[in-house]
Symmetry: C2
Subunit: 135 residues, 2 copies
């Protein structure tokens, strides 16, 4: 059996737009739909914003990308395999820092043990003030 493309393995059609959206998400790290569209358009100007939205949704449904809320407004998208860190969003300068997911391990365990709540710790931002801004 021939090697399947990752999109086809998930039961999706292999369209240029879809591959470009996935590639853009992977290259950008964190990105809003708007940013993804802009990235894709830098090489393929014709792509429509709705197509980006639809593909992000589709790719999320099959588990290749995920979204996170970093505060106001829109979600930001990540490649699923890269979402291995917390987001430390600074309320002053808006910077987005990273911390290993293990930093929250005890917190997550406590919520599970005490409240039966299974925390998806990557889905929300950690809000606060970064080192630079708290001086």
């Amino acid at each position: 059996m021939a090697k399947q493309h990752e999109l086809r393995e998930k039961g999706l059609r292999l369209t240029p737009q879809r591959e470009l959206v996935l590639q853009a998400v992977r290259e950008l790290g964190h990105a809003t739909p708007e940013e993804v569209a802009e990235k894709v358009r830098s090489t393929h100007p014709g792509i429509n914003l709705s197509t980006v939205y639809r593909n992000l949704e589709t790719l999320e449904n099959v588990g290749l990308v995920l979204h996170t809320h970093l505060g106001h407004g829109g979600a930001t998208y990540h490649a699923a395999e890269e979402l291995t860190h917390l987001h430390l969003v600074c309320s002053v300068c808006g910077s987005i820092g990273d911390a290993p997911i293990d930093t929250a391990a005890n917190f997550v365990n406590t919520l599970a043990d005490d409240y039966g709540f299974k925390t998806d710790v990557t889905h929300f931002a950690i809000y606060g003030t970064c080192q630079k801004c708290s001086k």
Copy 2:
């Protein structure tokens, strides 16, 4: 010296709309701007949605109310004195549970010690699956 109204103490003018917005936030616990407007309109139909938005912003600037992000879309507002708990938002049923703020104390300390990041733990929701939905 006569007792000042709490709004005047903050240097704000005392308008009926402003008092009503603050009162609504206090009575509702968590509320979106839309919900605040609805509450206020139940007794004072004329109030405009922009007025609610502007007053929420003003009241937040002087520290009487705060907002929290519970996921998609809009912020939800709280009276400043009531924001003493974490919000456990269930991704399945949408319910909003509470947990004492101390639950996150170790987590917050770790972020401060290791990253110099001062976490505002009430500003973001804790996303996951509640006990009921994870069965």
